[in-house]
């Protein structure tokens, strides 16, 4: 723990565990003690850890939903504006705007913006990117992405 000493006030206290089960039991105890500013770091998502930490469902779904909604309505409005409002293009007697003919493009845009919403929603909720993190100054902490907890 060399570099953490550089801080006048300690950033936090860390404990290292060898396996997933021990980590989870420790997390359950800390949850029951009522701590709020704490975290568990693991090389992979541990099943059941959300409950052990007392965390609820993630809110990423809302970002996906509104991204998708924006994609679909935006796509439909865009096509209506381009082909039926700003510059009519009659083709083969088909209506200038019809929900069915425009569905494929609006559908693709739903998925596109939904996916952007998901990824950037995840970044936003996780407060990432965060390239300066005192935890990363600790060399032993590097095992948290390898095989320790």
């Amino acid at each position: 723990m060399n570099s953490i000493d550089e801080y006048k006030i300690p950033y936090g206290i860390m404990a290292e565990f060898e396996n997933a089960a021990d980590t989870m039991h420790a997390a359950e105890k800390i949850r029951d003690e009522g701590y709020t500013i704490w975290d568990v770091h693991s090389p992979f998502p541990v099943h059941g850890m959300d409950d052990a930490m007392g965390l609820g469902n993630s809110n990423v779904g809302w970002f996906t939903f509104f991204g998708g909604l924006l994609g679909f309505t935006g796509g439909m409005i865009m096509i209506w504006y381009m082909n039926s409002f700003d510059y009519d293009i009659p083709v083969g007697g088909k209506p200038n705007f019809s929900p069915m003919g425009n569905f494929p493009v609006a559908y693709e845009l739903t998925i596109l913006l939904g996916a952007f919403g998901t990824l950037f929603g995840m970044f936003f909720l996780n407060k990432l990117p965060r390239h300066h993190n005192p935890l990363l100054k600790n060399l032993r902490f590097a095992d948290a992405t390898h095989d320790k907890f």
Binding site: N102, P104, I111, A142
Partner: protein
């Protein structure tokens, strides 16, 4: 279900040995061993075979710009296109490459939703394959528009006469489908990479103190910086994993309808037209099955040599993985075979003489050779996979997959060329042959694809380390290997 609902008098005996599934990671390797083995591919000295292959493929890739510059400066005529065959190799290659991409998304998205844990050791490389295949695919239609400098008319931007693109055309749907497909595949791939990039960053950080030579230190510093930059400061925090897992599931949920829609929309390019041989409702499902079929063949074509070239990978990508993929090839190959038969039946039963002629002409006309190549490669060759020996023998699988790759290319050739060359007016009939420019450009895309794939293998973790750790029993807090005491 809680344990208390099962009376203690009922004893459930473990399944017999022959029904137990082979482990996903052989020999009960530790969590650390998994990251060591995968990272070793990046950390070891560049192997000689890599340098040789990279030199060959990057040289071959030069053929793409050479062919395209010649085409653009001269005209699309150098591609052997003429009336009546105005869609030649370019469209065949486009559909072939984009179909290959579909296996990657199927593995990463659909198998994720179906909780097929075996996908974790092959999804990263397959997603990379998807992205590179879509890049190769995109080259062809972009140039095929003829006057390339007007390709921007495909985007929703008004042109010089303030006219917008026409959204009732399947060709425009295709633009949106393919570009969405590329973007979402890239986002999905990148998101999956974040924890593994953090692993790589931390490995280079730990290794930095052991280095003495200044050049090694500089490379290490650069690697730390690059992996650190793209890992976004990931620390493996469980508060992050919670959102990450949800986002991953949602992206899988979004990619599933996406992958099914992309090849459906590609098939609309044909099916929405009025041409006998193209104007059929079976096209969307038949194209999607064919895409998955051809894509899995390409996944195995790439993975089987890779596994034999890197030590340790054979314990991560096991015979069980190859066997499961062979079964998927058998299923989708049979669906494709069914579609070929059904097309013929409907052509006969539909009572349309032009439709029936188009199909008779496919099987017995001037291009019969391509039809029978297609049938032998796509319908007959995967039938070997009914036998366990054939499904578990890597080199045999590799040969069958080679035939499937050829067969799927032939399928697109049959669809595109045989439908066009003898159309409504016998006076217009013709025989299409590709030119050397066609062949050179197509050959060049292999170089382009392999160059990107080799770079991926060399510099990015080719197996999803974090995900793979998550499916081992060692990672399960309720399993004795994961440290459970009871």
């Amino acid at each position: 279900m809680s344990h208390s609902t099962v009376p203690s008098s009922i004893k459930v005996s473990p399944p017999p040995v022959e029904l137990e599934r082979a482990p996903l990671v052989e020999n009960n390797r530790s969590l650390g061993w998994i990251s060591d083995t995968v990272a070793n591919v990046i950390e070891q000295k560049t192997p000689l075979w890599w340098k040789v292959l990279f030199a060959v493929s990057s040289t071959t890739a030069i053929l793409v710009p050479v062919g395209l510059i010649y085409l653009i400066t001269t005209g699309v005529g150098v591609w052997g296109l003429n009336n009546p065959v105005a869609w030649g190799w370019a469209i065949v290659n486009f559909v072939w490459w984009i179909g290959i991409g579909h296996a990657g998304t199927l593995i990463s998205a659909i198998l994720c939703l179906l909780r097929q844990k075996w996908r974790t050791s092959i999804n990263r490389a397959s997603e990379a394959m998807t992205i590179f295949a879509v890049m190769c695919a995109g080259i062809f239609p972009a140039v095929h528009v003829g006057r390339v400098w007007f390709a921007w008319w495909l985007f929703p931007i008004p042109n010089a006469n303030a006219i917008w693109p026409q959204f009732r055309s399947p060709l425009l749907w295709d633009v949106f489908a393919v570009s969405t497909y590329f973007t979402v595949s890239l986002l999905f791939w990148y998101m999956g990479l974040i924890p593994d990039l953090a692993t790589m960053r931390d490995r280079f950080r730990k290794g930095a103190s052991k280095l003495i030579k200044p050049s090694q230190k500089l490379i290490n510093k650069f690697a730390q910086f690059m992996y650190g930059l793209f890992s976004m400061g990931w620390t493996g925090s469980n508060r992050h994993w919670r959102n990450y897992e949800k986002a991953y599931l949602l992206l899988a949920g979004l990619s599933t309808p996406l992958v099914l829609s992309v090849h459906s929309i590609v098939s609309f390019d044909f099916a929405v037209s009025q041409l006998p041989g193209w104007h059929t409702t079976i096209f969307p499902p038949y194209f999607v099955a064919g895409a998955v079929f051809g894509g899995f063949a390409m996944v195995m074509t790439l993975m089987i040599p890779l596994v034999s070239l890197y030590k340790g990978l054979e314990e991560l990508i096991t015979i069980r993985h190859l066997e499961v993929m062979s079964k998927i090839i058998l299923v989708t190959g049979s669906i494709v075979g069914y579609a070929y038969g059904m097309e013929f039946f409907i052509a006969y039963y539909g009572g349309n003489p032009y439709e029936l002629y188009a199909f008779k002409n496919r099987a017995f006309g001037d291009y019969a050779w391509s039809y029978w190549w297609m049938i032998s490669c796509n319908v007959i060759s995967p039938q070997f996979f009914w036998f366990k020996w054939c499904r578990t023998n890597p080199w045999f699988i590799w040969i069958v997959c080679g035939f499937v790759n050829i067969g799927m290319w032939m399928e697109r050739f049959v669809i595109v060329v045989t439908s066009l060359h003898n159309d409504f007016m016998p006076a217009n009939w013709g025989y299409y042959s590709p030119t050397w420019v066609d062949m050179m450009t197509y050959f060049g895309t292999f170089g382009f694809f392999m160059t990107l794939f080799l770079l991926f293998v060399r510099f990015l973790p080719l197996i999803a380390i974090a995900e793979l750790k998550g499916v081992t029993p060692q990672a399960d807090p309720h399993h004795p290997l994961g440290g459970a005491k009871h």
